[in-house]
Symmetry: C2
Subunit: 359 residues, 2 copies
């Protein structure tokens, strides 16, 4: 099967088999060695000298953690949004009582750093900026480096959703000046869902000290004090820790730089292949993502039917559009364990399914 | 190895091997069938006709969910506490702005329903009562049936931490009148950590409608609307779902009634064996738990050293005491996959390690 949704992504055999180990004591020495080791290696992927924590949750849990650990009810935040996950990030901040200033861009268009600057120049009391690095819903990578530069100019806190980018698309957190960055285990990491990873720097900790949003499960201060003992505050999902260990070994062996290039090569192939099939990309191509390709459904095509045929007749599982894009696009995930050959197979299946539908 | 901490508990071979399946689409038909099926079978374990949800988190996540889905900041709650987890439950409620009225009992003594009645009689504006069914920290099972009867008399909401009891010790939620009950995957269920289960009845949903505590990840209303589609709002930890399927089959085959009896038999054996070794139980024996035995450390015994010898020389992993009980007790977990033969081995190891230490 080609499971090519934007996550969970297929896991390598050695990752899957590592899941079957018997449980160990999460308050014992072996686990302590494991979590210290994994945490240090994750710092290399976040490219940070800050702190990294492993939470037992999906990526949205880490999104909530990024908000409640740095903000207080009533704090003004600038939420940049050009897709479903930008909306979600903004929604979490609102749910916890932040006063959210939304800066919306058309879905499929990139966030414009200049417009972010205009707002920050005017709105002096904005405490934090929320941004999604790679908008999974539209297959678009926002120009995070440039956005971060603007946020640093105005010295605001920058919280970054890197759920579908980290480990696949360059994101040197410290160099670019991002303060809190989070991701999930089931995307680029080639690990099953069940864990999320969140990195926080000194500015993030300064914000933590003043943050009054209620928190318990997501409290990074607790996570930090337990990590010193080689533990998590709450029982961690041990099998996914085992899997992460193996997956990081694969990532380290290939090398981050090579992984970024592979994702670019694979994405280029997908984009070309899609055009050769007479289809077009949904997002502004200059910002098309190297991990997810969103394809505009041709007029009159029943996208749901296309996905069903692909699934049932070709064993290729792709994703539809979310929310306002439902029925208007379909999405190909090409992140984590993915090769050009995988995408050849997917493209052939799409081509063949389309001609079948048009017959 | 005998991993006999109060959780994670050892997983059966067939549960472990089920973890290694390749990922599937969490928004696809196969997952929908799986989650609907698992949810119905979990209802049998909670003995409820209410709703049950599977969250990707540890048990403490479900504890937070029980609070934020039913309460508003400023609500008065009565937190019953006779151990570390009673304190935690109370702490979560405080963290989210509830006005917590604590009713404390000595650690190792049971909660007294009459004293709960005295408080509820006097304090007319208490909205909810928080109680831990099985206090993992002291090896004690609170008389939940009687406590629930009092709470029903006064028609308050009853939130129950059943993390180390559900599926091992009787807890017919509907019959006893509990409103929200939650547990974790890594205890009696013989499943690795990574999921929690939470059940909520009609009264719980009534409270939900008025509950103003901030929530996003834990929002059970969202969980309900996604479950109708056979989904979870956020990406679920798929391998642990596979494991739960297999573990529930084992539980159903043995039968809940037989499982309760096995836990009682095993616990009786442990308690007798401990006394035969000249040791004594920490909690009031009339309320000693069938899933965890807390043993008082004899005067002058270095508990840490005992646990180290057991671990290194006998391959038996037990737990120490938490918080104020650190160094004063040690704890044997006997829940989930456990037999009398397992406990024979553990008791022999304890006896042998003790004579070695006394030599």
């Amino acid at each position: 099967m080609q499971l090519r949704i934007p996550g969970p992504t297929p896991c390598p055999e050695e990752v899957l088999s590592s899941l079957s180990r018997q449980m160990i004591n999460h308050r014992g020495e072996e686990f302590a060695e494991l979590i210290w080791n994994l945490t240090e290696r994750l710092k290399n992927i976040f490219m940070t000298k800050g702190d990294v924590f492993i939470l037992t949750s999906s990526g949205t849990g880490a999104m909530e953690a990024s908000i409640v650990n740095t903000l207080s009810p009533g704090d003004r935040v600038l939420a940049l949004s050009n897709g479903f996950f930008g909306e979600r990030f903004s929604g979490v901040a609102s749910a916890f009582g932040a006063e959210v200033l939304k800066l919306d861009f058309e879905w499929g268009k990139a966030i414009e750093p200049e417009k972010v600057r205009d707002v920050l120049k005017k709105e002096r009391d904005v405490k934090a900026v929320l941004v999604v690095h790679n908008e999974t819903s539209t297959g678009l990578t926002n120009p995070l480096k440039e956005i971060a530069r603007v946020v640093r100019e105005y010295d605001r806190l920058l919280l970054v959703d890197a759920i579908s980018s980290l480990s696949c698309i360059e994101l040197p957190m410290d160099e670019w000046g991002c303060d809190v960055v989070f991701t999930g285990s089931q995307k680029g990491f080639m690990v099953p869902p069940g864990l999320s990873f969140i990195a926080i720097n000194e500015r993030g900790w300064e914000a933590y000290k003043k943050a009054k949003m209620p928190k318990f499960y997501w409290d990074l201060g607790k996570a930090k004090s337990f990590l010193e003992k080689g533990q998590t505050p709450w029982t961690p999902s041990i099998p996914i820790f085992f899997a992460l260990d193996v997956a990081l070994r694969l990532i380290e062996k290939e090398g981050l730089r090579n992984i970024f290039e592979r994702h670019k090569r694979v994405a280029d192939k997908v984009r070309e292949g899609i055009k050769e099939l007479g289809l077009s990309l949904f997002p502004d191509e200059r910002y098309a993502s190297n991990t997810i390709t969103a394809v505009r459904s041709p007029d009159g095509l029943d996208t749901r039917e296309l996905l069903k045929i692909l699934r049932e007749e070709y064993d290729v599982v792709l994703a539809g559009g979310q929310d306002r894009l439902s029925g208007k696009i379909f999405r190909i995930g090409h992140l984590g364990k993915v090769s050009e050959a995988d995408m050849d197979e997917v493209l052939r299946a799409i081509g063949s399914a389309l001609s079948k539908m048009r017959r």
